[in-house]
Structures are given as C-alpha cells and as structure tokens.
C-alpha cells in the first residue's frame, strides 16, 4: 500500500505531498527527500535512451526495512516518489509504473489550469481523488 506519494518539482522541492498514516509523516518526507538523489543517479545512469512513451520509470529506488521507495520522472523533470509498504512484496515494477503513469496523466490535467496556484495544490480534487484511490488500491 502506498504510504506516501510526493510530487517534486524540477527545483527539487515538494510540490505535493500526501501520506496515509499521519504519524511519522516527517519520516516519510525525509525518506522521500533523501531518495531524490537516487532518482537523479538512476536517471544519469540510464542515459538518454529512455524516451519512454510515458516517462522514465526507474522503478525501485531503494528498499528499506519497512518501505520501498519508487521513483518516476516526467519529461519536465518533475519527479514522483512513492513509498510503498514492504509488506506488499508482490508488487512488480510494472504495476508501480502504471500507477505512476496514472499519476502523470492526472498531473498534466492539473497543470492545464492556467490560473496559477501558488504553492498549495490540494485544490484540484480530481488529482486528490485519484491519488487517494491509488494509495488505497496499491494495497
């Protein structure tokens, strides 16, 4: 079950954070943040031949004892990072990637809004709903 989903903008600050259990939220955030450089590392390692139709999906970034960290990068260097509970080890990369693709689609829908939404992006409820559905579904 996806415990935490975070969208990080090109400038490497979190644009959108969503976690399920409220306790230890900061820990999730820190884990996600630290995994950002992992993302970059993987991207640079993978090279340029990754113009996937829907984006780079490095997949599993780092398995910790409790969680696994998955990452995903869009064309515009927006990164999605999720923490997935390690208890659900049956997840394969593909599932995670498809989840990321859905996230990406929803994110593009949100960005189509021309009115600037400085900072707070909880407003787009569609995005929220989708994220929630993902988080509950992935369990």
């Amino acid at each position: 079950m996806a415990v935490c989903i975070m969208v990080i903008v090109k400038e490497n600050y979190p644009f959108y954070v969503r976690s399920i259990p409220v306790e230890n939220e900061l820990k999730f955030h820190s884990v996600v943040h630290t995994s950002l450089d992992l993302v970059d590392e993987k991207i640079s390692a993978m090279g340029k031949a990754l113009v996937d139709q829907r984006g780079l999906c490095p997949g599993l970034l780092y398995p910790t004892e409790d969680y696994k960290v998955y990452g995903y990068v869009t064309n515009s260097k927006v990164k999605f990072v999720t923490l997935v509970d390690s208890s659900n080890t049956a997840h394969r990369d593909n599932e995670i990637c498809s989840m990321f693709w859905k996230l990406h689609n929803s994110y593009t829908d949100v960005t189509c809004n021309p009115f600037p939404n400085p900072g707070d992006r909880i407003r787009p409820r569609v995005f929220d709903n989708m994220v929630t559905s993902l988080m509950t579904q992935v369990c």
Partner: protein, 647 residues
C-alpha cells in the same frame, strides 16, 4: 415579553396566521416540489445548504411572484428584502417573507419591512400553469396575527441573527429576518432578548433600504447576465429575462428536469457568452487557449484560487483550452460567483459541455452572429475589459431580442450529433484572417445602410456580372473626357483578372452588393473629375477593392447620381467590402471550410485590389494621354491664330 415568547414557542402558534401558514407552506411546497421533489417547509437548518433540498427553486418562485402581478421592480425589491438574494436561494424563511411582502404590496403598502407588521391579506396570485389554482381572497382571520406580530419581528430577527452569526454576515446588511418556521425554530426564540432584537430590527430597517438600493446598483451591471434567482435580475431586463426565463423553463421542462436553476444559462446569457467567446476567438468551433482565458477571467477580479477552481470545474477534458460550451460554463460560474452564489462541488448538469452543446444550435450561432455583430462590435473594439463588458452586457442584453426557442428535444439530438462532429478538437484556426474579415465585415454593414444609393443598388445588384454596353454614359462633370473611351479600354484589360470573382457575386445579399455599388460610384466619380482636382488622385488610391466587374455595371447606370457625400462612407468601406461578401456564406459552409474560404477571400480581395489599382492606373494614363492631345491641339490652334494676329 419573554412569557409571551415562551408562550409563542411553547404552544407553537404560527407566526403567520393559520391561513397564511397553510397557504405559504402549500406554495412553498409547490415551488420546491416543482423543482426538487418537495421537501416540506420548516427546516431552516437544511435550507442553509445551498443545493439542499429545502429550497424553492428560483424558477417556480419567479413564476409565482410574477403571478402576483406586481411590477418587476417591486418583485425585485421584495426578493432583495427577503434575503433571497443575499442568501442565494429561496429557503422557506425567505419565501415566507417574500410572500408576506407581496401581500403587503398588494394591499398598497410600500415595500418595507414594517409593512409586514401590519395585518395583511393573503397575497393574491393570478393563475399560472405552475401554481395552479392559487387565488386567495381576503380572509378575515387576521386579528389573531396581530398578537403574534411583535413576536414575529423580534423572533425573526433573533432567528436571523443566529443565521448571521453562522454565516458571518455583516449585521448592517439586509437583516430582513425571515419568518422562522414555527415548529422547528423554537429554540431560537429564546436566545436573544426580545427588546434588543426589536431595536436592532428597527435600526436595521432604516438602514436597509438605502443599502439595497445602492448596493443593488453596482450589482445590477455585473448581475446582468445572471440567471439566478429573481433577486439577481437587473431591473431593466427583468421583463425580458422573465420572458426568457419562462420560455426557457418550458423548453427545459420538456427536455430535461434539472432542478438547479442558478446554474442554468438563459438564452440571453448564452448569447452574451458566445459573443464574449467570439471576442476572444472568432471561430465558435475553436477554443480559447489557457493564457487568453486566464487574462480574460482575471479581469473578473475573482481570487486566483477561485478562478482556478472554476477552471477545474469547467475544463472538462482538461486540455488547457476552453471550447465554447466550456467557456460558457466557466463564464456562468464566474458570474454566479460574483453574484454571491457559492461554487458548486461539481459541475452542475446544466453546465455540462454536452448539455450546453446540445442546447447550442449551430445555425443559431450564425444568426446570433448576424444579429449581434453590430452590437458586439463596438464592445469588441473597445478594450476587452471585463468590467466594461459587464456594463455593456446590460446594454447588450437589452438589445438582444429574446430569441425564438426552436430547440426541441428531437432537434437537440440531431444538433448534438452535428455539433459533436463540427466541434472537433483540432488546432484553432488562424485567428488573424477571420478576425480581420469579421471586423471588416461588421463595419461596412453598419455603414452601408446610411449610403443613399442602397435602394437603387439593390435593384442593380441582381445583374449578371458581364458588363453590358455602356453608351449612356454622359459627360456630366468632366467635359473633356470621354468616359466611354476611358472605361472601355480598361474593361478588357481587367476582365481577365475579374473572371474568377464574378460567379460568386449573385448569391450575395443586398447589403454587400450595395457596398459594392457605393464603391463603384467612387471610381466613376473620381474619374469624372480628374481635371478639376488633383487631390482626387489620393482618393483614387483609396478606391475600394470591391468587385471590379460590378463596377462597370453600376457606373453605367449611375452617372448622374454621384454625390460627394457617398464618397466618404464609401471610402471607409474600401477594404472590407469583399470581406463582407463572405459573411452570408458561413451559413452555407461548414466550419471546416471556413478557413479556406477566409483565405480565399483574402486572396481574392488582394487580387481585386490589384486589379482595381491596375485599372485605375491605366485609366489615369489614358486621361493623361488625352489631356496631352488636347494640349497639343490647343497649341496648334494657338499657333494658327497667332500668325494671323501678328500679321
């Protein structure tokens, strides 16, 4: 007083008299039932929900109010006072207050809060289809209500105050405290000391009346396009809106059963929105990009989060651009928000793009295009300031005729299918050419009507483009010129270039042909007076780029009627004349070929301009030659004469 209040709430005597209570509740149930399936009155808590079930929909309520046969202005005041406008909907309390006010006005009392304190007959409503047989006489049992009236004023104020507190409304604003529905609001009665409430009511009523009147004025303009409850109708357009309201409701009752009146777009609003859309993007089938829409909607001075929310609601396909129905939905939401309506949680069904598309008959766009261009053009040519638009929207709304509602259920499906294929998600066309042509089209149409030669031109307009022989030309002005000689050599020169355009001429309607005629007068007139005025040469260069083959025809028939006055309007018509010819065609062509047509029009226009200029050039050369010949002849004569005298 408290005992009285206690007595008031304990035994539950109605604030209104028995008959009033009965009738009002019946009316309310009917109004609410007509809309959303009729919850009973008397649940003020639920009535606070904006889209809650206990509201009387504005449509039946409006009908009912109209049935009371009060003038529209009075109805407007009543709705203001009863708080429906502020609250945004007709809850039972507002409804009761409104009914009471109607009764007061029908009894001849002014529309004031104090009127309600007097004993009143029941309001009288004429028959209307929605209200059924609701004709009330003058019941005699009003004496009982006298005792309750002091409670009424204080209790309603106390009740209202709790409402106010919850809603954080300013207390000075219309504190038109509605009647508390007796059974359910006893707990409110005891909350506030009655004397305090009473004095508050007194003070508030004095302030209230200037306030709504002043407050209403600035709201009138922005509220122009709102289709919300009657309270939001501007006074001027209430009649037309009421008409459209009832007409629209009939239609929509036929076709759909959407109860959310505030979210339904009336025809006038729709036309307004469509015009605004066109001001941003001439092609109704294309869409407005996000940045353009953003600038536009930002002018509405709503906060950015709200605008973002509205966008999120209205851009159903999330493509970053607004098609016409999306734009109308967004505009409507903005308007509603400005009028104080809370934004809905989701896009109301009446604002769904499919619904709006179905209700948008395509020919209507073009008709609206024709009809509204002369009104919309002035606004378009001003800065597209939304504030200004809001003000002019009132004028525009006044100018728009109530359109004929031809859309029935069957037509809607047919139209929907055609619209769906006609509104593709392709790249928006080049706005420059159609925009220019549209701009140009409008101007000549409005001005050509003033030219004097229209009637005759219209008669001539049906002539085939082949130039008939013109022996009738006379030399009324330029005696030294033989106009026939001038024109005839020019005709064959230009004929080759003119053959493509002529076939398009006949189907054109009269106005455009009249323009051509008036422009045809120009060159002939100019050519007539070359010797007189060298300054005519710059005017000649302005000669319009109209259809050259038509010019010889008209010129032939109109040698004497040239007047200088027609020159001024004609010169200004110059460029757009041929652009105007495209105007009648859109009704025939499909959207997809509009682009081609526009481009072809532009090409044709330029070709014609070239042809005209070339011909002018040749004509002038000819004249120059002739003038030279005359000069030579005169010099010869002089020489012949001189030796005689000398000798």
């Amino acid at each position: 007083m408290e005992a009285a209040a206690g007595g008031g709430c304990g035994s539950g005597p109605p604030l209104l008299s028995e008959s009033e209570q009965q009738c009002y509740s019946e009316l309310f149930a009917r109004c609410a039932g007509a809309a959303s399936g009729g919850p009973g009155p008397g649940h003020p808590e639920t009535s606070r929900v904006a889209s809650g079930a206990a509201t009387a929909a504005a449509g039946p309520v409006a009908d009912l109010f109209r049935a009371s046969q009060l003038p529209a202005e009075t109805l407007h005041q009543i709705t203001e006072l009863c708080g429906a406008k502020r609250v945004g909907y007709f809850g039972p309390t507002q409804f009761y207050v409104a009914l009471k006010l109607i009764a007061a006005v029908q009894s001849g009392l002014p529309v004031r809060i104090e009127s309600i304190k007097c004993e009143l007959p029941l309001p009288r409503f004429m028959m209307s289809k929605n209200d059924g047989e609701m004709r009330f006489g003058n019941p005699a049992e009003l004496h009982g209500s006298k005792v309750q009236i002091p409670y009424l004023t204080t209790e309603k104020n106390s009740f209202k105050r709790t409402d106010d507190e919850e809603k954080q409304q300013e207390t000075q604003s219309p504190t038109m405290s509605p009647f508390a529905s007796p059974p359910s609001s006893p707990p409110h009665y005891q909350r506030v000391p009655l004397s305090h409430g009473y004095s508050k009511l007194r003070s508030s009523t004095e302030q209230m009346h200037p306030v709504p009147y002043e407050g209403r004025q600035p709201l009138v303009q922005p509220e122009g396009p709102s289709s919300g409850g009657p309270g939001t109708k501007p006074l001027r357009h209430q009649a037309s809106l009421i008409r459209s309201f009832s007409v629209e409701r009939e239609l929509q009752d036929n076709s759909s059963s959407y109860p959310d009146e505030p979210w339904r777009i009336t025809e006038e609003q729709r036309e307004y929105y469509v015009n605004q859309f066109r001001s941003l993007q001439p092609d109704p089938s294309s869409f407005i990009s996000g940045s353009v829409a953003k600038n536009f909607f930002t002018k509405s001075k709503l906060s950015i989060p709200e605008l973002s929310y509205i966008w999120e609601l209205s851009d159903a396909d999330c493509d970053g651009a607004l098609t016409l129905p999306e734009f109308c939905a967004a505009f409507h939401l903005i308007v509603a928000r400005k009028n104080g309506y809370p934004l809905p949680e989701g896009l109301p069904p009446t604002l769904q793009p499919e619904y709006l598309q179905a209700a948008f008959p395509k020919p209507k766009w073009d008709c609206a295009l024709f009809d509204s261009y002369s009104e919309s053009m002035p606004t378009n040519q001003q800065a597209r300031d939304l504030n200004r638009m809001e003000k002019t929207s009132v004028k525009d709304m006044a100018d728009f005729p109530v359109p004929t509602q031809d859309v029935t259920g069957d037509d809607k499906q047919a139209l929907k299918s055609t619209l769906n294929e006609a509104v593709p998600k392709d790249v928006p066309e080049d706005p420059a050419t159609p925009k220019d042509s549209n701009n140009l089209k409008a101007r000549p149409r409005s001005r050509s009507y003033s030219s004097t030669s229209i009637e005759e031109a219209m008669k001539r307009g049906e002539d085939p483009p082949t130039p008939p022989p013109r022996p009738q030309k006379s030399h009324s002005r330029a005696s030294s010129l033989d106009l026939n000689k001038v024109f005839q050599p020019s005709v064959p020169a230009t004929k080759s270039g003119l053959l493509p355009p002529p076939p398009a001429l006949p189907p054109r309607p009269c106005p455009s042909q009249s323009e051509q005629v008036s422009e045809a007068e120009l060159p002939s007139q100019l050519n007539r007076a070359p010797s007189q005025a060298a300054e005519s040469s710059p005017a000649k260069k302005d000669v319009p780029h109209s259809q050259p083959p038509s010019k010889p025809i008209r010129r032939k028939f109109r040698p004497e009627n040239q007047s200088a006055e027609s020159q001024e309007p004609s010169t200004t018509i110059s460029g757009p004349a041929s652009g105007a010819s495209v105007k009648p065609h859109p009704t025939v062509q499909k959207q997809s070929s509009k682009q081609k047509k526009a481009i072809q029009t532009a090409i044709r226009k330029n070709k014609e301009a070239n042809a005209v200029l070339a011909r002018l050039n040749s004509e002038l050369q000819q004249q120059l030659k002739e003038v030279h010949q005359e000069r030579i002849a005169l010099e010869n004569q002089l020489e012949q004469l001189r030796p005689v005298t000398v000798l």
